[in-house]
Amino acid sequence: MENLNLEATVESKVFRALAAVENQRLNLETKGKALGVTLRTKILRSLTAGLVAGASLLEMGCGAKEVLSSDTQTPHQEDRFERAERKMDQEQAERDKVRTFLKDQGFEVKDSDTIGFQKLNGQLSLITVNGQEVWKDSNNQKPLVQFEQGPTGQQPAPEQKTNPDAANFL
């Protein structure tokens, strides 16, 4: 019984799909006649092939293959890529600021060190270097982390005992 239902569903889908493409064809033919032209799809077939960077019309139509040349980006895609790029630039700029801040505080931070940080209400609240917590914001009642050694082996500067004001740092 279940198999029969499945067959009936598939059969109905075949009819619907065939009817859909046939109705589309008739509709287009009617539009062509109204415009006084005979549709010359054969010419277009060869012309389109060279313009869509190897993607077939159906791939493009279904979104199965995104053609990412600048010529074929949709405004939506451009917007998405620009946003992602802006975010990456912003994150990099913030990371650079944190690196400079740490250096100013007497830490030796190598370019290869991975800087991590957290913000609370737009203010810097925590810094990590290579996964190790190195600084916390005392304005938020968190103690400053004391170091025997800096993250790359250098002793932090003595004045490091008080936490510098990090408000609006970023």
Binding site: R16, V21, V52
Partner: protein, 92 residues
């Protein structure tokens, strides 16, 4: 990704993967033909009326030159997406 994988991907996106191969081919071929026909109409509609009349009488080479001048990847994608969306709507 092979051509066969792409075809399977397209069939899945059109919800036609469970149909018989012959039916799948028939539908995909006609759908592609419809995209080309819609592309043709889109170019014609964008032309000024006097040029439309001329185009109807042109030989293949001359018509090809006009199409070539008006075709671009943006238009192709827009038309292909529209025809596929219309097909899905008609399938409901």
């Amino acid at each position: 990704m092979t051509d066969l994988d792409l075809k399977q991907d397209i069939l899945k996106r059109l919800d036609l993967a469970d149909l018989a191969l012959a039916d799948q081919d028939k539908i995909l071929n006609q759908l592609e033909e419809n995209i080309l026909a819609q592309l043709h109409l889109a170019i014609i509609e964008a032309l000024p009326e006097e040029k439309r009349v001329t185009l109807a009488d042109l030989d293949e080479t001359a018509a090809e030159q006009i199409f070539q001048a008006h075709l671009n990847p943006e238009l192709i994608k827009q038309v292909a997406t529209g025809v596929v969306a219309d097909f899905k709507e008609r399938m409901k």
